[in-house]
Assembly symmetry: C2
Homo-oligomer: 435 residues x 2
């Protein structure tokens, strides 16, 4: 295998800004053919319900059923899967679930209210969603960890019913996924997938209940369908390819860093793995590790394509500049593989998750650290957050005026409403003003 | 004026469910011609920046300028507007701003972290967005209250720069809007609007800085443009027409309730005003008030169209059933005009804002109660929240393992990663396991 060519950048290069922008560019524009196809599927599901689900499931998953009820998996089936998987996998899933639950319980929000001197009460009431839908990809990308990460926050939030959909193309079932559903407390499971499953969750059919929000990863059809039903239901982020940014002071074992970069690169060819260091010698050492370790990897082809086309080794003047570059990237995963990660963290403004110190491999966060592995990609950490309990709760403002409060506030509202030409608003407020 | 015909429903009717669904149906499907036009504008702004902004502003707002810098308003201009408006309006705006600030400060989120026995540290870091964009409609729908409601939460959240865009068609400037911008602490103001302004905020131009999130109401072109740039930047909800649902026990002055219904109806013809009561005589009385008051309203035409086409008076068996119907509607504004609003609130699961008791006119919440008036519409209160400080902050997960923690967790991650066939993940974790 000839050596992989890896992009090298240096902040001291004159065209660094443009080179970095080019490196990060990611075209998430919608494919119009996919769009048309998804719209057709959604409108069929909306108007014909179960019948459409059965047709598309036969067409796309080569799975024939007489009714959608047949495509539902019983709780017993989930428990059987839990019994069937190897004991070490079961224990690992259970340990991971416990840690994820512990962490997410700290995100629970509580209602609050306060009373003003004149008896006016203001507050915020927090309530869970009634029902959440969880999309789980089938086939090769069936990740039980993803079931835990999406379902547990919903249950911690108090969602009464979590409905999972997972395609089983050609009837292929993944027991580890079902076991994770059992552990996470998923309430119902339908073996349907694609845009048709998203439509079923958004609009409801005779058999599949409509949910209030749909979360979980999926292919381009699933992502397009989620974007399309947004508004009818809530959705989580439309995820781009996975990314990791490692900032290293040059003192971590280069093999560790190379493997950390690989752990994102192996996800898919579009994944992005970037290393930043002020130490040129260290960048060279990691590049040597990459070349040496690559042939030993099970997913060497995917990793080579990803690292070769979208990876980069970036040299900076110092760690402060590394933090600046990181803020421009707003990475999904950020490893601070440095001696004093706490000090460096002060300078980090945008990142999905930050992995502190040499021992905190990003992979630990994917599975069992506790925090969520559903994170904002493609720079969206500038304005969005990891999936969390807060995604399954919403707030209602509470406003209660005493007669005195309504009198006082009515006068202000009246002036502003008349200033805006909204006289019904003004008169509604004025009715509550004392003579 | 002949009497307005208003829809009457009764939960005891056999076809109540279907009638209610028909009443609530709201077609928010995208207009393809608008879509094409918006895409064209956005791509022009993305590729040609300022030049495109100047062309579209001349074309749509009949406003000619030589540079976008000419379209920026100085802080001095904002302060001059604040001096220019009538004193009672200024005092009302300042009082409202203070109350909005007080309420929203309670929404501020704080970072947290905890340490486990083996030294593992987990946490969540909360940071503000760097820059937020605020769209403010021009012309007749120029609402200074909307400037306060959108800008103040951003500033409370710690956003360093709030950039406001407001079209001034034919050069028409609204001083009350500019005064509100001054009071709210808006940092920069450009007199541009439409899809081109959304594009400028999303992509940035030579003169207009790119922001991280765009909030604020707008017409169909603005809403479509926001939907289109979602992902490049964050956006708030795509708002549908405004709605009010009043639950009344029959003991509130019928004129008050009629005026409360009007206060939503006057927004636009598609607005929806619904009254629910177990008291048929009261529904009759409110209907009589509606007929009597309607001819006295400045916006009688809009109100008549809105109440006639989308309004309804719904009779229920009791207040518990009223709450059930309300939960199905998930209204933007909910008035509990009853003797014991706290008791009824227990049963309310979905609502943007709840107005407690007979004195709490919804209009007070629009202006100066304190909570935000940007609220989820069209049933989206099932899964979303009022605009708040949390919309201008985001979270980063913090994960830090000690050598011991990495050893313990690495073993679990290794099992799960190998179960998913992700061996780079596994090996990255295994490097940190002790021999």
């Amino acid at each position: 295998m000839s050596d992989l060519s890896i992009t090298r950048l240096n902040t001291s290069d004159e065209d660094f800004d443009r080179s970095l922008a080019r490196l990060l560019a990611w075209d998430d524009s919608v494919d119009h053919q996919v769009n048309e196809s998804v719209r057709h599927i959604l409108s069929q599901v909306k108007s014909r319900g179960d019948a459409a689900i059965l047709e598309f499931t036969e067409q796309f998953d080569r799975l024939k059923a007489d009714s959608v009820a047949e495509l539902e998996m019983s709780k017993d089936r989930l428990l059987k899967a839990l019994e069937a998987i190897p004991q070490d996998q079961r224990l690992a899933l259970e340990a991971a679930a416990q840690r994820i639950r512990d962490y997410h319980e700290r995100q629970n929000q509580t209602s609050w209210q306060y009373e003003e001197a004149d008896g006016t009460v203001l507050g915020q009431k927090v309530t869970p969603l009634d029902r959440a839908g969880l999309y789980v990809p089938g086939g090769k990308a069936a990740y039980p960890s993803s079931v835990l990460m999406n379902a547990i926050p919903a249950k911690v939030a108090g969602v009464s019913e979590v409905v999972m959909v997972v395609p089983t193309p050609d009837g292929l079932v993944n027991d580890m996924v079902l076991a994770a559903a059992a552990i996470a407390g998923v309430d119902r499971v339908f073996t349907i997938g694609g845009a048709q499953a998203v439509g079923a969750l958004a609009y409801g059919t005779e058999t599949v209940p409509a949910v209030d929000k749909i979360v979980g990863p999926g292919n381009i059809f699933v992502a397009t369908a989620k974007r399309e039903v947004f508004g009818t239901v809530g959705i989580d982020m439309i995820a781009g390819p996975s990314e990791i940014l490692v900032i290293c002071d040059g003192q971590t074992d280069p093999d560790w860093i190379a493997m950390d970069l690989f752990s994102q690169a192996e996800h898919d060819e579009q994944a992005q793995s970037i290393l930043i260091s002020p130490d040129k010698g260290f960048l060279d050492a990691v590049e040597a590790s990459i070349q040496r370790l690559l042939p030993t990897m099970e997913r060497a082809d995917i990793i080579a394509e990803s690292v070769g086309s979208r990876g980069a080794l970036i040299q900076v003047a110092d760690l402060a500049e590394a933090a600046e570059v990181s803020n421009r990237i707003a990475p999904e995963h950020l490893e601070l593989s440095v001696e004093q990660p706490e000090a460096l963290l002060e300078n980090i403004r945008h990142a999905g998750a930050v992995f502190m110190g040499r021992y905190t491999a990003e992979a630990l966060g994917d599975y069992c650290a506790g925090p969520n592995h559903v994170l904002p990609t493609s720079g969206t950490a500038r304005f969005s957050s990891p999936l969390g309990v807060y995604d399954f709760q919403k707030r209602s403002s509470i406003i209660g005026f005493s007669a005195n409060g309504a009198d006082k506030m009515g006068r202000i509202a009246s002036v502003l409403a008349r200033g805006e030409g909204l006289t019904a608003h003004a008169r509604s407020a004025e009715y509550r003003i004392k003579e």
